[in-house]
Symmetry: C2
Subunit: 500 residues, 2 copies
């Protein structure tokens, strides 16, 4: 998601705990086996809508749990099954539930360079830097800058293998986890987790835990261990403003037929200030929950790369004042698309019949998706528009000089687990003390993940621990996982199994 930043992670090798040192020694001795298990897993096509393929993945994953002495349970959904497993730790009354997903994004086969998306290959450096395909050596050690290219290498089969390798490493070193371990692997994440809330509701006992660790997403580009305690929710709305019933000749009708593109521009311009970046819709920020001192301090300590990002993305000046990582603790209104008439070589001399804008509203903790959309609709009404939900007929058009259709997506709320909770402090301490590094700790991830299911349905504090390289081409052709990030992921996730 922070693709394109030319930051090479520099992972200090000092300061880790004896336990993590043992995990690292195990990994160094088993690099070939760990990579081989991931390669076999990646050879299984896993696009969410191919149910048969998804079941092959679920069965392979079940076998991988069985090999670790964990009895797999398939939680059926009517769609892709969840794979569940549990390992008790004698004498522990605390439980950590690890969540990841085994399905992958669709693939545009023709855009993959040099191999098919489900034929994993190893490259000696990133493709973008001229990396070439190399043989998988018969044994390690492997160069940590080598990368494995395949769909789901990073999102999210790599982290599943890291979790299993962490368990193997602790076992091999004779180190008991400090908590009971539960695993929940989803097969429908890339289509929006349509069954997650239902599965959580129906299996609340099975999934009961003191902490959920979601192992998904890219590590901070600094290479430091990364933890997010919240993520923005999302809801989207498509606004259509109407002009004449069909496009009219702009010579004969321009000046007379209302232009819907101008009307839409006017409507959108009134929603947000281009000068301050503030949304001007009444009540938009009302429910924002303030960050605690600890969270503010964590943000202040987080690596600051705004200027580097401005340089890379050609941004002379950000939209609003403040650091990017602070700003994403606020709700947002983003125009993600505009369409009206034609432009460029296709431009024709018409007054368009309609103009469409698609918006996404990102939400933060305590903002209700439905209420935020109602605020948007109220704002549109306040500008004199009649708001309808479906394509208006001629009579409706003739009744309302200003007419807008607003179609709303379902969306879901934000989640946020307070960093001040004892269990939050404990997982932070585990990761930082075991790895010997100060973690990047974010109150809110800018992007949206439906982890509110864990915090709101299961009522379990939740932290995301993303471990893969930021330039992994997630959701795109040539997805890849840097081996050094896989190694570090094993150590960071092992730390969470040794919860303080």
């Amino acid at each position: 998601v922070i693709a394109g930043l030319a930051v090479t992670p520099q992972i200090p090798l000092l300061g880790q705990s004896a336990a993590i040192h043992a995990v690292r020694e195990y990994r160094q001795a088993h690099e070939r086996e760990i990579v081989a298990e991931l390669v076999r897993f990646l050879e299984l096509p896993n696009v969410a809508d191919d149910v048969e393929a998804i079941y092959l993945n679920a069965r392979a994953l079940s076998d991988m749990l069985k090999q670790r002495g964990i009895e797999p349970v398939l939680l059926e959904t009517g769609g892709a099954p969840y794979v569940y497993g549990e390992r008790k730790t004698a004498g522990s009354d605390r439980t950590v539930l690890f969540y990841a997903h085994y399905d992958g994004q669709p693939v545009a086969v023709e855009r993959w360079e040099g191999h098919l998306p489900f034929q994993p290959v190893l490259r000696d450096k990133p493709l973008a830097a001229g990396g070439r395909i190399i043989e998988l050596p018969a044994e390690g050690p492997f160069d940590p800058d080598w990368r494995l290219y395949a769909r789901s290498a990073a999102d999210d089969k790599g982290p599943i293998i890291a979790l299993l390798a962490a368990l193997d490493a602790l076992d091999a070193a004779g180190l008991e986890p400090s908590v009971n371990l539960r695993f929940l692997f989803e097969g429908d994440e890339e289509v929006g987790s349509p069954h997650l809330a239902e599965v959580a509701g129906a299996n609340s006992e099975l999934l009961r835990a003191d902490l959920v660790v979601a192992a998904d997403g890219p590590n901070d580009p600094s290479g430091l261990p990364t933890m997010y305690f919240g993520a923005r929710g999302i809801v989207s709305a498509e606004i259509t403003v109407y002009g004449p019933l069909r496009p009219l000749h702009s010579g004969h009708y321009g000046n007379w037929a209302p232009n819907p593109a101008l009307r839409l521009a006017d409507l959108l311009a009134g929603m947000k200030s281009t000068a301050t970046g503030r949304v001007l819709i009444e009540g938009f920020y009302d429910d924002v929950r303030a960050l605690s001192d600890f969270e503010l301090r964590a943000l202040a300590e987080a690596p600051y790369d705004d200027e580097e990002q401005q340089r890379v993305f050609g941004i002379a000046q950000p939209e609003a004042e403040g650091k990017r990582l602070e700003l994403i603790n606020q709700p947002s209104l983003n125009i993600r698309g505009l369409r009206s008439g034609w432009v460029g070589a296709e431009a024709r001399t018409i007054v368009p019949d309609q103009a469409v804008a698609n918006l996404d509203l990102r939400l933060v903790e305590d903002i209700d998706p439905r209420e935020q959309i109602e605020r948007l609709i109220a704002h549109v009404r306040k500008q004199g528009y009649a708001v309808v939900g479906s394509e208006p007929d001629l009579e409706t058009r003739l009744r309302h000089p200003r007419l807008a259709r607003i179609v709303v997506s379902d969306g879901y709320p934000a989640f946020r687990t307070s960093m001040d909770l004892a269990v939050s402090r404990a997982v932070i301490a585990s990761v930082e003390e075991h790895t010997g590094q100060t973690a990047v700790k974010l109150p809110t991830l800018g992007g949206s993940v439906p982890l509110y299911v864990f915090t709101d349905v299961l009522q379990v504090p939740t932290v995301g621990i993303p471990t893969v390289n930021h330039d992994n081409n997630q959701h795109s052709p040539n997805e890849n996982l840097r081996l050094g990030h896989l190694w570090n992921g094993i150590e960071v996730l092992a730390s969470a199994m040794l919860l303080k």
Copy 2:
């Protein structure tokens, strides 16, 4: 151009002059021959970019002139040739130059119903009203509601045939035109008349005249004879506003990366008031030339069908106060297209990298196209934008928080011949007295035609006399000409040959 209006022309048959009565009698006796000549002409494909086909048309047209005793001259251009011809009238020192075009718009063959675009067919009523293909009867009279379907039937081969039939009718009746006649037929009109100014400049003696009559375009839906003494000019501009170098994740970057769609909306909203319909760009109306009392009276007398048009097009309220025919005497700013990111099923959660608006500015007499565009650019600069003419590089993006690229089309100015000139009064009197009807007389046609070449380069007063049915599907599949409009066209154009 006023397609879709369900107005059936009612042509009163009373009050015409003896000369026009004679023209009508000739036509009634020769309907079969007139239609057959048009059909043969329509069988020649005439899309402007097919040079070979265009020359076949030019030669056929030359033959048609020769048959009338007019020696044709091909004026070569490097593109399509102009076909020129002249017929002197003994004792007359006045000259009328008739202009029309023999090329046609491109055809989407698969969208023509029941026949190919260059296989003309006769239908017993409009296709939209269930009209069926009928045989061309061996002799007239033909039902005036029958329609001939073919590319260029209305735009603009029908009017060429009307001109030639008018000449035949006057000859047959032994009626001399009151003026010398000149004919100029263009073969590049549908690609924007790229050679017209050059041909006019190089042949100013050949084309010298007291009046130009342009025989092109649709009659007023009322069915009354129609004359326009001006037309708006046009110039277009595409404005691109820049955001990040490539689309960014709206979760991780929304609130921070500037959104170009919002910026563009804000910029466009500031250009024109949605409340009054007035353009807010400084100087936009400065050069507008006021209409004379005679012109204002002509406008006031013109048929008023705004309410009918609102009903048909689903417009609850026009953009500005005033009659449509009055409003088109003002310059306009029309957003004809918007593009940014994606909408609908393709919407994705991104901050777009750019947003594009395509505008057309219609011009009226005395507004210079270049100056009007400079006013637009000055307005954009005043909003804090650096304006560039080509795709900006990274350095340029990093230098300017607000950056817009504006690409301008050539365009051309409006034309307007004062209705108060003696020759204007004369042609109005000729048409009204001969046909016995009050003509619809427009100071300005809303659409753009490059007749400024006649008024500005040749310095000849110019009037447009459009004669074809308004619902002719000009520029679209299933173009057609109503026979009753062809008949009336012959009479109206004959009236102009009998200039008072």
